[in-house]
């Protein structure tokens, strides 16, 4: 994401924007780029309007356009009421919304958002997903997330990356087709759960009155009474990642480096 956002230079390979190598001429892309880093800070003594005015100036917006844009964005990210408070007093979710607002300041043609919904409450998350979907009609939006429901709600194309390598790049429908007939719903007793976790790739568990309902991703049914169910993107994600790791083993073996 940092390479795409012109923060880091690639050690090998090339990224082009309108046939221009962004490592050679980064300003071509920066002029139309909106970037929300995964980890970013703010200036604690400024309020949100002053902070956005500062970044609007850096992005080349004139004063009048910038002020108008900031007012609009403050309503969109729901910070208008808090616009005069110093940013140092903002909660984590509010800071995240400031980050979203700054990424949208210059009406970017390429919007890169790295884990944008981290720290947002459910209402804000839904709101931001809708915003991204709306924006994606007119521009390219690249979203990185570990929250599969975010990708389900917004993505028209999904790239699955495992330890820095691209595993799959396809439309969500194709990813789901790839795992069709490989997801099973199985009811077991709670005493069997530990053994099942070690043996199968389980995407979810739910304790019910008749036992533990587990969702297993695998080529064959885990038991004779297991039912084939409609796959979700989460199932597809686990399928591709575990296939890449050489087994359909338990989730715990995948580690934290996996990304979607």
């Amino acid at each position: 994401m940092r390479i795409l956002a012109t923060i880091t230079k690639p050690t090998e390979g090339k990224v082009t924007w309108d046939d221009t190598d962004i490592a050679q001429s980064p300003d071509e892309l920066r002029a139309v780029l909106g970037y929300l880093p995964q980890d970013f800070g703010i200036y604690p003594n400024l309020n949100v309007v002053e902070f956005l005015e500062y970044l609007a100036a850096l992005k080349g917006l004139d004063g009048r356009t910038g002020r108008k844009r900031i007012q609009e964005l403050l309503h969109i990210v729901n910070l208008f009421e808090a616009r005069k408070r110093p940013l140092g007093n903002y909660s984590g979710g509010m800071k995240q919304r400031v980050g979203i607002a700054q990424a949208l300041l210059n009406d970017p043609q390429l919007l890169i958002v790295d884990e944008p919904t981290a720290g947002l409450d459910p209402a804000e998350r839904v709101r931001f997903r809708n915003l991204l979907s709306d924006l994606a009609g007119e521009r390219i939006v690249i979203l990185s997330t570990h929250i599969v429901s975010d990708a389900e709600a917004t993505a028209t194309e999904i790239a699955i990356i495992n330890r820095g390598y691209l595993l799959e790049h396809a439309r969500p429908e194709r990813l789901l087709q790839a795992v069709d007939g490989k997801v099973w719903q199985w009811v077991i007793s709670s005493t069997e759960l530990t053994a099942a976790k070690q043996q199968y790739l389980i995407s979810s568990t739910a304790r019910r009155g008749d036992g533990v309902h587990i969702r297993v991703v695998g080529e064959t049914p885990p038991g004779s009474d297991a039912q084939a169910v409609t796959p979700t993107l989460e199932d597809a994600y686990l399928h591709f990642i575990s296939s890449a790791n050489g087994s359909m083993g338990p989730i715990g073996a995948m580690g934290r480096e996996n990304g979607q």
Binding site: R2, A5, T6, I7, K9, P26, D27, E28, R30, A31, Y35, P37, D39, F40, G41, I42, Y43, P44, N45, L46, E50, E53, Y54, L55, A57, L58, K59, G60, L61, D62, G63, T65, R69, E72, L73, I76, N78, L79, F80, E81, A82, K84, P86, N89, S91, G93, M94, Q102, N106, D107, D121, P122, A123, E124, R127, N130, L131, D134, L135, E138
Partner: protein, 549 residues
């Protein structure tokens, strides 16, 4: 036992974290270079320790004393800035909040940090000691290394003072208003006043003879012994002594000094000073906030008194107090789907003056009313005072008052972690970096307008031009240090030193602001203009390096 174990791990973790940084290796490398320069060869043009332009033969006691003096006088200044981040690091990384939830008490925590500070400085002292041995062998004026005579003065003089500097660093980190740049500047003056007071109190004004006492630096006993030895051979010898003096063509002679016996009484006296260090370290637990974010938030709110007052007046006007309070931002609300109005195309070439105005605004935000009052007071005082008073008393204040604002130039992106946002905008090197420097220059010109208007009205045009060179140079120095070092401490340490030598003591070579007639005659403004260009170029290279493009 459990407390000791906690203390050990607190110290070890903090010490390991610091010494594994690349920057610490640079500090050690600098100490090796400095150690080489501390023992100049014949014909080097300067003496490090002398008595009426006589120096001791480079034997173990003399080299030990030289290194001991440097360790006791200068290392506490630079060492303080090096270690004054033990608590800050825990605050920034969030580790502090984890520690705050453990049973570790405030006193154990501060003692652990003090020991860690001290361990870092003692590692530097160890490198200095090793260099002292090496230098005696390199200079080879006395081939016999007497280890005790060489090590004793370095450690007995250096250790207690470094223990106090370590404790002071902790105390300054614990007191909220001394935690930042103000504390860095305040410490510089604490150090300066302490050294001046100790030196002036140690020697008789007429005879220049040292009075042997258990002084803080531990230098009066060996100095008195040296003076006695020299007087025994040459009764009318000059007793004036100094540390690091240029010879400027004068002849230096040598004598043999065999050192003093570092008796149990002397050692006990030095240990007593270390007790003071422990007391300061323990006292720092009292103001320490134990990473309570509510306390720092309270300060931020107090700082924003003016904006809160405005908000209150606005609310009264709107009659908000008569109505229900509006829903808080961030609460669950049903809101329509958001849409973004398309913008007219933004300038691809960027708007330099917009960036400049934004940088200037950012520079002026978030300072206390006292700072603004002081700045305005200086402008008025300069306009109303005579030229002599301006040059003698007010100009030095004008060149020091904004130090904490200059020190923020070039470091904000790293300090507040906004680099990824700021560096992904167009022209971060060709627009934002020069805008940051120019904003600093404009700010300096505004803050110092009383002084330069006074110079202009009196027709002091050479001084006026030199003043403007200072206004270009100072933000450039801050920018270059900020971009390369990444924190404000480097500028907050070096600049007051430069100010003290150049503006207060009026040493022409360091006169960056046209404060001396000699400096002007030597063409120092032209030299500093060249240095300014070099510093800006250095900052540009540094920013390119940060961008990795």
């Amino acid at each position: 036992m459990k407390t000791l174990r906690t203390l050990y791990h607190l110290t070890r973790a903090d010490f390991s974290e610091r010494v594994r940084r690349y920057s610490f290796l640079i500090v050690l490398a600098m100490m090796v270079c400095a150690g080489y320069l501390f023992v100049p060869p014949e014909g080097a043009g300067y003496l490090v320790l002398h008595l009426g332009l006589k120096r001791g033969v480079y034997n173990s006691p003399w080299i030990g004393l030289m290194f001991g003096l440097i360790a006791a006088m200068h290392l506490p200044l630079f060492g303080f800035y090096l270690v004054k981040n033990a608590v800050e690091r825990d605050r920034q990384t969030g580790v502090g909040q984890i520690i705050a939830t453990t049973p570790t008490g405030k006193f154990v925590y501060v003692v652990g940090k003090w020991l860690s500070n001290l361990a870092v400085l003692l590692l530097i002292l160890s490198v200095m000691t090793a260099m002292a041995v090496v230098m005696q062998l390199i200079r080879a004026e006395d081939a016999v290394v007497n280890l005790w005579a060489l090590v004793a003065p370095i450690w007995l003089m250096g250790l207690p003072v470094l223990a106090i500097a370590s404790a002071m660093a902790l105390l300054f980190e614990s007191i909220s208003f001394l935690r930042g740049g103000l504390g860095n500047v305040v410490y510089f003056f604490v150090w300066l006043v302490t050294i001046i007071t100790l030196l002036s109190g140690a020697f008789d004004e007429v005879t220049h003879l040292a009075q042997p006492t258990n002084d803080l630096l531990g230098f009066t006993r060996p100095m008195a012994d040296i003076q006695q030895q020299v007087l025994a051979v040459e009764p009318d010898a000059d007793m004036g002594s100094g540390l690091i003096v240029p010879l400027r063509g004068r002849e230096a002679s040598t004598f043999v000094w065999d050192g003093i016996g570092w008796t149990a009484g002397i050692i006990l006296g030095r240990v007593m000073w270390s007790g003071l260090a422990l007391a300061i370290a323990l006292a720092s637990a009292i103001p320490f906030d134990r990473f309570d974010p509510a306390r720092s938030r309270l300060r931020l709110e107090r700082k924003g008194l003016f904006s809160r007052l405005q908000k209150l007046i606005g609310a009264i006007r709107r009659g908000d107090f008569l109505r229900r309070r509006p829903a808080k931002a961030g609460g669950l609300q049903v809101t329509p789907a958001a849409h973004l109005t398309p913008l007219a195309a933004t300038s691809k070439r960027g708007r330099f003056f917009g960036v400049l105005a934004a940088e200037l605004k950012l520079m002026l935000k978030g300072h206390s009313l006292i700072w603004y009052a002081g700045a305005i007071g200086l402008v008025i005082a300069c306009l109303l005072s005579s030229l002599d008073d301006v040059q003698q008393y007010l100009l030095p204040a004008v060149w020091l008052w904004p130090v904490l604002i200059w020190s923020q130039i070039g470091i904000r992106e790293r300090r507040y972690n906004t680099g990824q946002m700021v560096f992904s905008v167009p022209h971060p090197v060709s627009h934002q970096l020069p805008a940051m420097w120019l904003a600093g220059v404009i700010f300096t010109v505004i803050a110092g307008c009383g002084a330069w208007v006074r110079l202009a009205l009196t027709g002091e045009f050479t001084g006026l031009l030199a003043w403007f060179v200072g206004a270009l140079f100072t933000p450039a120095l801050a920018l270059a240090l900020g971009v390369w070092v990444g924190n404000s401490r480097a500028f907050e340490t070096l600049y007051p030193l430069l100010w003290y030598i150049g503006v207060i003591n009026q040493v022409p070579a360091f006169d960056y602001a046209g404060a001396t007639a000699e400096g002007l005659a030597m063409g120092m403004p032209v030299v500093y203009l060249g240095i300014t260009a070099g510093l800006v170029a250095l900052a540009v290279i540094g920013r390119w390096r940060q961008l990795q493009i």
